[in-house]
């Protein structure tokens, strides 16, 4: 289930982009954003660090329980055209949260949505998928192929 541009609603597109961006290093996002002209915006919530309590489920599929916390950084910005963007991301990188918030606002703006998707999200999505495919291929090589020993004469 990774971010996909084919998501039809705006919410799905925003979630898809957030997912891709949350996995990318902040420097990679910044590098790609630097190529785009950015509209003026206001910082609505300065980047701040905090925690979320990560929940699991009893037995994997049952009632929830509190597993332990994780650090999270968050930020919010508002374009002068009114779109409000949010960034929430694991870790303590406030700049990354701010960049995600900026992308989130731009995705909601008809003037900027396609540029953000094409120049920022799509290439980062490709990198994320490549990294996952690599990990999956490494794991697959350790998969056990059971076979039955044939004894005696067939």
């Amino acid at each position: 289930m990774d971010g996909n541009m084919s998501g039809n609603t705006l919410q799905e597109r925003r979630q898809g982009a957030m997912q891709v961006l949350s996995h990318a290093p902040a420097a990679d996002i910044a590098l790609r954003m630097a190529e785009l002209p950015l509209p003026p915006y206001q910082q609505l919530r300065a980047p701040e660090n905090g925690l979320v309590m990560v929940r699991g489920r009893i037995g994997g599929d049952g009632a929830p329980f509190n597993l332990g916390e994780a650090t999270v950084s968050r930020a919010a910005i508002r374009l002068h055209s009114g779109e409000v963007g949010f960034g929430y991301v694991l870790g303590r990188d406030g700049e990354k949260a701010r960049l995600i918030a900026l992308c989130d606002a731009l995705i909601q703006s008809p003037d900027h949505a396609s540029a953000i998707e094409v120049k920022v999200v799509a290439p980062l999505r490709a990198e994320m998928r490549a990294a996952r495919d690599q990990a999956a291929a490494q794991a697959a090589a350790t998969r056990v192929d059971f076979y039955t020993m044939v004894r005696g004469e067939g």
Binding site: Q43, L44, R45, A46, E48, A76, R78, G82, V84
Partner: protein
């Protein structure tokens, strides 16, 4: 999202430093009941919320501190959206569940017993009242006494409700449970923790 239209005000410009400074001010105020303290200027806030209240909210409220709003504040849609966005604090209808109560019209303050008074095991789990008052510099003088006050301290203020001190006398019998109060006028605030008593009124 819908509520975050252009009217949404920012909070502290420097969240960490401003929250630390405000925390220090509130702690100092609680340690020195009756003394007027100032929080720093420049905090973003909805128009009907005083700067001192906004600073307290941004410093002390989080998603684990339920907030009760009086009628004027709960009727103002920008207040709830601002609090939710900046603090994440849940807004509750039942004052008995509230960690803090924000009151813009203190003359209509409900019976204090409708708020949380704390429990014997956890007397700190009571509601702290934050009242927006007319003035903390001009008005009738009263004298306060109690821990944190050397003898008595005088406070000139225009406070509502008029019988606030009489109502707070329930704290005497409740101790260690009880209600703590912070009075706010603009950037100024005065704390009256549950141990503060009225020594003399008038003047």
């Amino acid at each position: 999202m819908q509520s975050l239209d252009r009217a949404l005000q920012p909070g502290f410009a420097d969240k960490v430093l401003s929250a630390q400074a405000t925390f220090r001010t509130v702690m100092e105020a609680m340690a020195r009941p009756g003394q007027v303290m100032q929080v720093e200027d420049g905090v973003g806030r909805p128009p009907s919320m005083m700067a001192g209240v906004a600073a307290i909210a941004l410093t002390l409220f989080d998603q684990e501190t339920p907030i009760w709003l009086d009628a004027p504040l709960s009727g103002a849609p920008d207040i709830g959206a601002w609090l939710k966005f900046h603090t994440g604090a849940p807004i509750v209808a039942d004052p008995a569940l509230a960690s803090f109560a924000l009151v813009a019209a203190p003359e209509q303050l409900p019976d204090l017993r409708s708020f949380a008074l704390g429990s014997a095991d956890y007397p700190d789990r009571s509601t702290t009242l934050v009242l927006q008052v007319a003035s903390l510099s001009v008005g009738p003088m009263c004298q306060l006494r109690g821990p944190g006050i050397d003898g008595t301290v005088s406070l000139c203020a225009s406070i509502a409700p008029a019988d606030l001190f009489a109502r707070l006398s329930i704290n005497e019998a409740l101790f260690p449970r009880g209600i703590d109060v912070i009075l706010v006028d603009g950037r100024s605030l005065v704390a009256m923790p549950r141990t503060t008593r009225l020594a003399a009124a008038g003047g």
